[in-house]
């Protein structure tokens, strides 16, 4: 029955694709347009005389490559550390019963309820004391503290979602509890790990306020701060170059997604196959 309706669903999905992606299409299309087409009173859907000049302008804008490198370092370190630490913590909170469990869960949730904006200056003061201002490690530390509660919280949900009988099957094999987790649980939670890692990557990649406040040297800044200098200037905003620059900054998270997306189980779950 599902197959008969498949073409209907496909059409709907494609329509949704067009609507969701339109702003991105607009951004990319503008990036290739000639200057006069960009500001003309009647918008043109596709560039009539495509040019890559704006991409060249964006790349040659000062500090582009350095800031991309900085962003990559910050984000990769943040993602790896937060995934590792939060997976352990999520296992503890999902699979074990111990004193302080509820308190810990409430703490994790509570931290996420704190308005981040309220912490800007107190956090800056703490980091400044330990010379973590204007260095990448300070930003990494900051991003970790905001990513960890979220990752723990989300991974816990995924771990709780693992059907019990799969775990039991593993235990029967005689492996220890920890061993069972690594051998059986990890692949089952893989979709959750992937979704969480994509989230951690993108959130860190796109974060602006703390990166702006903590990093002063333009050679040390992240690519989101670099972007803000395109439009922060009082003099003429080069919209096309801004769109080209934005297109470039959206590429790394997309590439990261392509690399890890194979782990999201498209189709039948691994558990069902094993069951």
């Amino acid at each position: 029955m599902r197959h008969a309706h498949r073409s209907l669903w496909n059409t709907l999905a494609l329509a949704i694709f067009v609507v969701m992606v339109f702003p991105i299409f607009w951004m990319v299309s503008t990036a290739f347009k000639r200057e006069d087409e960009v500001t003309s009173l009647t918008p043109t859907w596709l560039p009539l005389h495509p040019t890559i000049q704006h991409f060249r302008d964006a790349i040659h804008h000062p500090f582009f490559w350095q800031d991309v490198k900085n962003s990559l370092i910050i984000v990769c370190v943040t993602v790896v550390i937060s995934l590792a630490l939060s997976f352990l913590a999520a296992v503890a909170l999902a699979k074990y019963r111990f004193t302080g469990r509820k308190a810990m869960i409430l703490l994790i949730i509570g931290i996420q309820m704190l308005p981040g904006a309220g912490l800007i200056i107190p956090l800056y003061v703490v980091l400044a004391k330990y010379h973590q201002v204007n260095v990448l490690s300070g930003v990494i530390i900051t991003y970790l503290t905001f990513a960890l509660p979220f990752c723990v919280w989300t991974l816990r949900g995924f771990i709780l979602g693992i059907p019990k009988d799969l775990e039991e099957a593993a235990m029967v094999d005689g492996s220890t509890r920890v061993g069972a987790f690594v051998k059986i649980l990890l692949p089952l939670v893989a979709p959750g790990l992937v979704a969480t890692s994509i989230f951690a990557f993108i959130t860190s990649w796109n974060e602006y306020i703390f990166a702006r406040i903590l990093l002063n040297d333009q050679a040390r800044q992240t690519v989101t701060v670099w972007l803000s200098f395109f439009s922060g200037t009082q003099r003429q905003t080069d919209y096309a170059a801004l769109m080209a620059a934005s297109t470039l900054t959206a590429i790394p998270p997309f590439v990261f997604f392509l690399i890890v997306q194979r782990r999201i189980a498209f189709g039948l779950t691994a558990g069902a196959v094993r069951g």
Binding site: M20, L41, L88, G157, L160, F199
Partner: protein
């Protein structure tokens, strides 16, 4: 399950602690240690500082001298007596309900759609969603601004061409409702990818045989969804809903940039912006801290139902 049942029975029999049992019992604490250390070391002082600030008169003058004046609950009193606070709170609650409802609702539908489409369409749609997700908010705002520009925005152009009416130079930022409507569109648009992809990942954990078994029994799709699927993805749904509430209630970047600083005024404040304006722009850090704590309390109240569900769901037998 054999192991945990044994452990439970063992504890209830109060056998003397053996070394193996102590080690096994301490495992969760070791697993949690790294996270606790990182969070405690970094957030410990700032959170303490935030609470302390809320009881102090701490403006630019005090900031420079690193010394505030204790004024007890005056900051809280002043905020709670400010009609702007209450109007903003109400406006933000309505805004949050609308945003969360749309995000989770449409996200769930998208995830369900994912299951039913051909692989190539799924890959295409996922790729598109990730592109949307990867868009920095600063850029997304620029694009939305650009598209809704009264002068030459494509939205006005398209609506006029499609004969929906004369939208020539229509000002989408003209009224508060219109402004917040645009902000909602932007936020839901940006939040859908994460919710849809995460829910799809959760759906992929639902064993196919369960669904087929229910369908063979003659259950209709809606029944199958609520009786089979939802219980299994419930933890993830609860998490996403509670997170959406947190984020949408305190959202700052999108409305601040989309509406634009020149157009922000108490009539269209959202809580996140109110906090920023009172605390940072007016450099009254004590008051800003008090607002932060009040926001925390409000969010806690809004998500208590979900949190309690989460705690119950997570109980290990």
């Amino acid at each position: 399950m054999a192991v945990s049942a044994e452990t439970t029975r063992a504890w209830s029999r109060r056998r003397p602690l053996s070394r193996a049992r102590v080690v096994r019992a301490s495992v969760p604490y070791w697993l949690l240690l790294p996270v606790v250390v990182v969070l405690g070391a970094i957030l410990g002082y700032p959170i303490y500082s935030l609470v302390r600030l809320s009881f102090q008169h701490y403006q630019l003058f005090e900031l420079i001298r690193h010394k505030g004046q204790y004024i007890g609950l005056k900051n809280f009193g002043s905020v709670l007596h400010d009609p702007v606070f209450w109007h903003t709170a109400l406006r933000t609650v309505i805004f949050t309900i609308a945003n969360v409802g749309l995000t989770i609702g449409i996200g769930m539908l998208l995830a369900l759609l994912f299951v039913r489409i051909s692989t190539w369409v799924r890959v295409l749609l996922t790729a598109g969603l990730v592109l949307v997700w990867a868009m920095p908010p600063v850029v997304a705002v620029q694009i939305f601004n650009w598209m809704t520009n009264p002068q030459n925005g494509v939205l006005n152009y398209a609506l006029t061409q499609a004969h929906f009416g004369d939208y020539f130079q229509h000002d989408w930022m003209g009224s508060t409702l219109s402004q917040l409507g645009l902000v909602t569109a932007l936020i839901v648009w940006g939040a859908l990818p994460f919710v849809a992809i995460t829910l799809y990942a959760a759906l992929s954990q639902v064993p196919n045989e369960l669904i087929e078994a229910a369908e063979i029994d003659g259950a209709r799709s809606l029944r199958v969804f609520f009786d089979v699927t939802v219980p299994i993805i419930r933890p993830v749904l609860l998490i996403l809903t509670s997170l959406s509430i947190l984020w949408d209630f305190g959202v700052f970047t999108q409305p601040y940039l989309l509406i634009g600083q020149p157009h922000i005024h108490p009539g269209n404040y959202l809580m996140g912006i109110y906090l920023f304006e009172e605390g940072y722009v007016k450099t009254d850090f004590g008051r800003g801290a008090a607002i932060s704590i009040l926001m925390l309390a409000m969010v806690a109240v809004m998500s208590v139902a979900y949190v309690r569900r989460m705690l119950k769901v997570g109980d290990v037998e």
